[in-house]
């Protein structure tokens, strides 16, 4: 993770009408130095990269493609270079979403997002309980997370560890494998539990890089 005494630098991919203040503040509290990636090369070279939760699936994906940042993210994920996706940003790592029919995601992980059933208040907005995966190596722990989402995954392929929450039925709260952390919730708004997750990701994923 860089030289002793230097702050880990985390590049953020801008995907549209950005509200990045909360997550950048959380990274600063974790001792990191967050910044907006200027272009795809900037994102590719960063020690840590984050795709934040902004906009609809189709518009966010179009913004990533326009800057070539999608390829940088795909490349990072295949190498296991520390990469995080949050909320709508997390969803772009999958193949498609009912939110934007016909739009292709990055397809780094197999799966398609579906809308919560209309019998529930949508969007899900607020705190929900997260159960960590059985994998002892996972960064996500049991606790309460803050969600703001209308679409979700209900299954994950092999090779990626899932954390789960209940909203009507079970859905994917987070998915992770070494170097890659995908959060449907907002870790930056999930109190000390979410702050701890960001800190562990910076430490452990950084150690692997």
């Amino acid at each position: 993770m860089g030289e002793i005494g230097t702050k880990p630098r985390a590049a953020f991919a801008a995907t549209g009408v950005a509200n990045l203040a909360s997550i950048m503040a959380a990274f600063r509290r974790a001792g990191a130095e967050p910044y907006l990636a200027k272009d795809a090369e900037d994102l590719a070279a960063a020690a840590f990269a984050v795709v934040p939760g902004v906009g609809s699936f189709g518009s966010a994906m179009a913004a990533l493609r326009a800057s070539g940042m999608d390829e940088a993210v795909v490349d990072r994920a295949s190498r296991g270079t520390p990469t995080m996706g949050v909320c709508a940003g997390m969803q772009l790592f999958f193949e498609a979403s009912e939110e934007s029919p016909g739009a292709r995601g990055m397809g780094i992980v197999k799966g398609e997002l579906r809308r919560f059933p209309s019998s529930l208040p949508v969007p899900q907005l607020g705190w929900n309980r997260v159960r960590r995966p059985g994998d002892a190596m996972s960064l996500v722990r049991d606790g309460w997370a803050y969600f703001a989402n209308s679409y979700r995954l209900t299954s994950l392929p092999d090779g990626i560890a899932g954390s789960w929450a209940e909203y009507g039925e079970s859905f994917v709260a987070a998915a992770e494998r070494p170097g890659l952390l995908l959060c449907q919730f907002h870790p930056e708004l999930s109190g000390p539990w979410g702050q701890g997750l960001i800190e562990r990701w910076l430490q452990q994923a950084g150690g692997q890089a």
């Binding site: 009408v17 509200n19 607020g126 929900n128 803050y146």
Partner: protein, 261 residues
């Protein structure tokens, strides 16, 4: 019953000139502390969100508030709802840029209801909260003509004649993802939420309702939740240390309700 997540407890900071103030029925404001210190204390006590209402009336006051929002944002890791003086998309964008996660619209929504549609399409419904300040009318609803509660704007100074229940429903239809419902009759009185108002609005609104105005003891919060609120807001009792957020949540849990403890 299907799980729909935890009830939220939201301490509210009414901020004027960079300081938290608190009054009774929106009058006689007294200093109640520093917004950053209070926000951090409330997060540590288990607050699920912080509401920051900028009540300053001057341009200089608004600038100070924006700076306070930035400082609160740096300090806390829970959602920040900001309201007060939001009239345009640009006002909302400025608050979001400063660190708000959600924006509340009040008077401007009454003047220009389309603002709610525009905010929702630009920022998403999860970002838009309609603040409704309601006051009981002297007219009896049995007569038919007068609404039981009317919407009051401009910090409680101007009555609109608008039916609060209908306005909440219209606001949700236009794009508000949540209704922040304040009873002006109860604000600062410590006599509990206006449960009749709360039941009427939750029955009419397709989106969650935050109860506000009058909570002073744990049973008020329990009653508010039982009357349909998905989140419970209070200010003075928390600022003065008369109640801790943790004790309120423990009371809700003891009453069988799901809270984040």
């Amino acid at each position: 019953m299907k799980s729909v997540g935890a009830l939220r407890i939201i301490p509210c900071l009414d901020v004027d000139g960079g300081r938290v103030v608190k009054g009774v029925k929106f009058q006689n404001l007294a200093d109640a502390g520093d917004p950053v210190e209070l926000s951090v204390r409330y997060e540590n006590e288990g607050a699920d969100e912080i509401a920051f209402l900028d009540i300053s009336a001057t341009i200089e006051g608004r600038k100070t508030a924006l700076e306070s929002i930035r400082r609160v944002r740096e300090a806390i890791g829970i959602p920040l709802l900001v309201g007060g003086g939001v009239r345009t998309l640009e006002d909302a964008a400025r608050l979001l840029e400063a660190g708000a996660d959600r924006v509340a619209v009040n008077s401007a929504g009454v003047r220009t209801p389309e603002l709610l549609d525009e905010l929702a399409s630009r920022f998403g419904v999860q970002c838009v909260v309609l603040a409704v300040d309601a006051r009981r009318t002297s007219g009896s609803s049995a007569i038919g003509a007068a609404p039981a509660w009317e919407v009051v704007v401009e910090a409680g100074r101007k009555a609109t004649g608008l039916d609060a229940v209908r306005w909440a429903r219209e606001g949700a239809r236009r794009g508000a993802g949540e209704i922040l419902l304040t009873s002006i009759d109860r604000d600062g009185t410590g006599s509990g939420y206006d449960l009749e108002l709360l039941r009427a609005v939750t029955a009419a609104s397709p989106v969650p309702v935050v109860a506000s105005g009058g909570a002073a003891n744990p049973s008020h919060f329990v009653d508010g939740a039982r009357s349909g609120a998905r989140a419970l807001l209070a200010a003075g009792v928390f600022h003065r240390g008369e109640l801790s957020i943790k004790s309120v949540k423990e009371s809700l849990a003891a009453a069988g309700m799901e809270v984040r403890l």
